[in-house]
Structure formats: C-alpha cells, structure tokens
Symmetry: C2
C-alpha cells in the first residue's frame, strides 16, 4: 500500500487541526481574535480564563496555524493566521448553521418571533445602501465597533439602546446587526425597536460574515 502511508499521514494532520478546533475555549479565543489583534492578557480577560491557560490554548492554536503573533514591547499580539483560515472557520460555521436544526430551534426559540420577516440579506442591504434608504445600526459594544464596522453604521450598544432611541430616524427603515448570526443583541434590538414603533430588520449574517465576504469595512470612529 504505497498509498496508505501518505493518506494516513494526511488524515492525521487533518485530525490534528480538527482537534484544535474541538475545544470551546479555543473557539471563543478565535472569535475574539477574529475581531482584531489582541494581547494575551486581554484575551484571558475576554474569555474568563487564567493567563497561563489562555497562553497555552493560544500556543495550541498557533501550532495548528490558526493564529500568528507579533511582539510589541512587552505585549504579544495574536491575530488570525493569514489567508484561508477564515474560510475554514466560516465553512464550519455555515455547516453548523445549515445542519444542526436543534441549534436553529434554540436560536429562534430564544427570540419568540417568526424569524424570517425581519431578516434582510446582504444583497438587499447593499442595494438599499446605494439608494440611502436605510439606517445601519451596530449594536455591539463600542470596543468592537471601533475595530471595524459596516460603512456608515452608527453604534449604539444594545444596553444603551433603550435610552438612546432619539438618535434613530423614525422615517427610515433601520437595519441592526451584531457580530454573527448567533449573536442575539440584534434579535433583541429589532424586537425592541419594532415595539417602539420603529421599522427595523436584522442583517442576516452579521459583521463577521460581512467582513469574510470581502465587503468594505469602515474603521474610523463614528459619533
């Protein structure tokens, strides 16, 4: 079996990658790193792990090629590995999204409203943006917003939304978005805005998908 050795070697490598993704903490770290370069201490804080533990998981991710590092003074910054890692991650995400009906049920349950009506696709959003007939609302924490957001979006973190409704136009449709398709801020935001008499929908796949599909991302701070 001249073939078997290499085939097996191949699959062994493959399995190693999969095993690296097979730990929630590492996935959470990846999610955070996907939002922008972060130092170890910050990542530990964000994911509620000890620093040593975080460091070890990061080493693991690095060995597998999912992340790369850069040193700046005392800090070591982690970023996503270059190129196609993102594709792998979104491939997995899409797989889960399309196949695990339990999760789908869970998501739609948690927001007890029929899902579809209030969704807007990336394509529709793009054409609506062209004709300026829509207000983009980013409900993520400011910290994530400044690292990158959809062009022209205004940032009102979900917790503040109720108090800052006056900043939103009542003559234009609002499209709210969040990190990814499973981030519930945008669900809750849309639900709230609609009960307050505003017309709001939710962007289908969120910011990460927007970025992953190569759309323009704005990084300047926006009052």
């Amino acid at each position: 079996m001249v073939d078997t050795d290499i085939q097996t070697q191949m699959l062994t490598e493959f399995a190693e990658l999969a095993r690296t993704l097979g730990n929630v903490h590492r996935l959470i770290l990846l999610e955070h790193i996907a939002q922008g370069e972060r130092a170890v201490e910050r990542l530990a804080e964000l994911s509620a792990l000890s620093i040593a533990n975080t460091s070890q998981h990061l080493q693991h991710l690095k060995r597998a090629g999912f992340v790369e590092t850069r040193r700046e003074g005392k800090h070591i910054f982690y970023r996503l590995g270059s190129g196609p890692v993102l594709n792998l991650l979104t491939a997995l995400r899409h797989y889960v999204e399309h196949n695990r009906s339990e999760i789908r049920a869970l998501v739609t349950d948690s927001v007890n409203q029929p899902d579809r009506l209030e969704l807007i696709s990336r394509e529709e959003l793009l054409s609506r943006m062209k004709e300026d007939s829509v207000t983009l609302l980013d409900v993520r924490p400011e910290e994530e917003f400044v690292l990158g957001h959809l062009p022209g979006a205004i940032n009102i973190p979900f917790e503040e939304l109720e108090h800052r409704l006056s900043e939103l136009p009542d003559d234009q449709e609002i499209v709210a978005y969040c990190r990814g398709p499973y981030c519930v801020f945008s669900f809750d935001a849309v639900a709230m805005l609609n009960t307050k008499g505003l017309s709001a929908r939710r962007l289908k796949n969120g910011f990460l998908d927007w970025k992953a599909t190569g759309q323009i991302v704005e990084t300047a701070k926006q009052g």
Copy 2:
C-alpha cells in the same frame, strides 16, 4: 450578557463536531464510507480496527450527524449523512491542501517530479472527454471501481498496471486518477506510463472530488 449563553452553546456544539473529526480512525472510516455504503464488519476490516471499536467510532460519527444507517437483515449499513456533510468534508480537505505546505512538500517529494506539468484540471478533462481525445484510466482497486467511476474509464489497479500496458492506447493521451488528491497510485501510474513512452497526466483532484462536484458517475462494470 444575554448573548453569551447562546454563543457559547453554539460554539460548544461546534467544538463537538470538530472533536468528532479529530480522530484519524474516524476520518479513515469516513473516507471509506464516502466511497459507498458499507456494513460495520467490512469497515472494521478496511480500517484494521476491532469490530467493537469500529462500532463505537461509527456511533460517534452518527451522533454528530456525519453518517446515517440502514438495516438490512443482520447487517447495518453506514452511509454519509445527507447533504452538506460532504461539503464540510471537502471544505476541510481543501483547507488542508492549500495551507499545510509541509504536506504539500511531502506529497511532491514522494513523487520526485515537478507536480504541475502532468496535472489536468476537471474543466480541461471535461472538454477533452467531449471530443473523445483522451483515455481515462482508473487505478483504484476493482472493488472501489465498481462502486462508481468516471464515465468511460477503464480500470487497471495500479499493481496490475505494468503487466497490462497493452490494454492502453498509444495514440491517445491517458488521464489517470485515483481516490483523492493525496492518493499516490495515480502519481506512480503517470510516472510509470511516461517512462514507458505513453503520454499520461493525472486528474487534479481525483474521484471523490469529481463526485462531490456533482459530475456524472458511472457504476456499471466495465471490462
């Protein structure tokens, strides 16, 4: 953090899937199942595992949705889960293929010839097939061949190739293929045919990819 719970639940599911793929034996089982329905005993034999062990890995794959089962008398047949699992598997395969240069090096090393020249893409093959200017050679074991092969291909398992060269035309280019991109039979076949004075190239991604991209697969036996 209304969001965190669901996000985490989501990633936990995700991690479970990844962990399922994080074992060589399970990947090997998947490779075999991808070639067609198989009973447990057969899979155990093919992957050189004990029956009980095989069964447990299969249960694992089943729980995660990668495979489904069907009972026929005393046998229980395993097949790939319906739909998008294949996509996930090919996504992962492509990721590995494009990113792990060590493996690429390993593959090209093992066949110490420049890789590119003797490759033929699916697209080119399709147009060459239309004009009947090519002979397709399937070098996999007969067992795999009968379960499905490219239309019009002739089957000469690699071990027999040297003795059966006369069955090949010497006035037409030959395109050899094997299971997947890392199956070395086709590398070796092309190398041998070329040294024997025949004109041969290797199909880029092999049979599994052909099938996965929805091309016609022939299943009738071919002398």
